[in-house]
Amino acid sequence: MNVQFRAGAEPASTVAVKSAIADCDIHPARATATELYPYLAKRWHEHLETYGKHPYQGMMEGPPYPKAQPNASRRDAWPPEGGPQGSSLSFMQKQHLDPNNVALGILCPLNTGQGLRNQDLSAALASAINDWQIDKWTSQDSRLKGSVVVANEDGPAAAAEIRRRAGDKNFVQVLLLSRNVEPLGQRRYWPIYEAAEEAGLPIGVHAFGFGGNPITASGWPSYYIEEMVGHSQCQQTALASIVLEGVFERHPKLKMVMIEAGFGWAPSLSWRLDKSWQRLRGEVPHVKRPPSETIRDHIFWTTQPMEDPERRDHLFEVIEWVGWDKLLFATDYPHWEYDDPSRVLPAGVSDANREAFYLDNARKLYGLA
């Protein structure tokens, strides 16, 4: 008996794989524990081997909420030569960049030195990761561009790293995470925004990280699914902080990208921010404009994990509210919640919007048009 049906599903449109796309969230990994050593001062080798990394959560091996798949990655993405998923450029090219015609791939390295309690180690690892991105990735494949990883809890050190990399064409953005010791709008992070704006680099705020706070405002939840869904709420709050602290009033040229936290919540958060600001603006006189306008002007959104309502007209309405010109396609390769480029957008999208979604918006934002 041959049975094939997808009850109630509409056929996904197939992007001809010959059309070039941008992938604005790729996660390169280290193949071995010592792969960063060439880029790290020797004192840190011994330090790491003796004391290890101390993040703002208790576990030294693996995450506190176990993932859905090993390394949170697709099981078919283990490179044949060994090493974890995402650690082999040649396999990434073969499995993803080439067949999906990725013309622009933005690297967002995770599990680096961000979110560590030892700020000196954090800064050293950040610099090492940035050297590694150039050496192993961006200088080997011109389609790939890196993100400047910084010691996120040490404003001056982070600013110094950004200034060091400013003007280097290997990098197109600065990378931060959404969960930090304080909400991202707080002034301890202002040196980062100043340096990024000065360098003409947007800031990618990627979901995740640990800052020592419970990951909900009512304590620590039980399950991984709560953490995964909760990235949406953490990103909302981090963005609200950035807007309400007046970061964009101070840095009008700065742009930010919300990475891997969804975008469907953008309209309702904007409406709530506007309504609250209308009432409470006396408390925050430095916020000069309705928050929805600030968000509209300064914020971009990567598409993965793509919102997936039952009715595609609902999806299209939400995209209209967010703006077709603000979305940046991403797969999150090699992670398990990967969005396949040929399946992710339903039929019924104009060519202009499709091209904006898959490539043009990213090229414009990252200065590669």
């Binding site: 008996m1 041959n2 049975v3 094939q4 049906f5 997808r6 009850a7 109630g8 599903a9 859905a68 798949q69 697709r74 099981r75 078919d76 398990w336 919640e337 990967y338 969005d339 396949d340 040929s342 399946r343 992710v344």
Partner: protein, 137 residues
């Protein structure tokens, strides 16, 4: 329908699977405790190589905290998004029904305790003839 000989039975002991292509279709044949089942190696969700996923059991619960874990080795998890599919029938398990009698509208087949999810992986008829595993395609 054409019959394709896959392999001698001893090449496919219980708990193993064999990947092959027939008429350009990627398929996998599984030996589940002595019985054979075939699946198209393409997840109906986003097209991943479904049959490369790990085999697990079926987790069900009639009360939070209590887990009944049965049918070990008969459920495959897609290597991408982890959706669970029954090897025997290709049925997905992402929309199960409640396990207590309740009155609200769901689709239930008589005798089944789990409602079928909307996705079904394509299955193929597999039989054993004279110690050979045979697929009808």
């Amino acid at each position: 329908m054409t019959r394709h000989v896959i392999a001698p039975v001893e090449e496919l002991p219980p708990g193993t699977r064999k990947f092959l292509t027939i008429d350009e279709r990627p398929i996998a044949v599984f030996n589940i405790k002595g019985e054979f089942f075939g699946l198209l190696n393409r997840c109906p969700h986003q097209g991943a190589a479904l049959c490369e996923g790990p085999l697990i059991g079926l987790a069900q619960s009639s009360d939070p905290g209590e887990i009944e874990y049965t049918r070990l080795g008969e459920i495959i998890r897609c290597p991408w998004h982890g959706w669970e599919f029954d090897i025997r029938t290709g049925q997905s398990y992402c929309d199960p029904k409640r396990f207590r009698a309740r009155a609200y509208p769901v689709n239930v087949e008589p005798g089944a305790s789990v409602v079928k999810g909307p996705y079904v992986a394509e299955t193929l008829a597999v039989s054993v003839e004279s110690d050979y595993v045979v697929v009808d395609l």
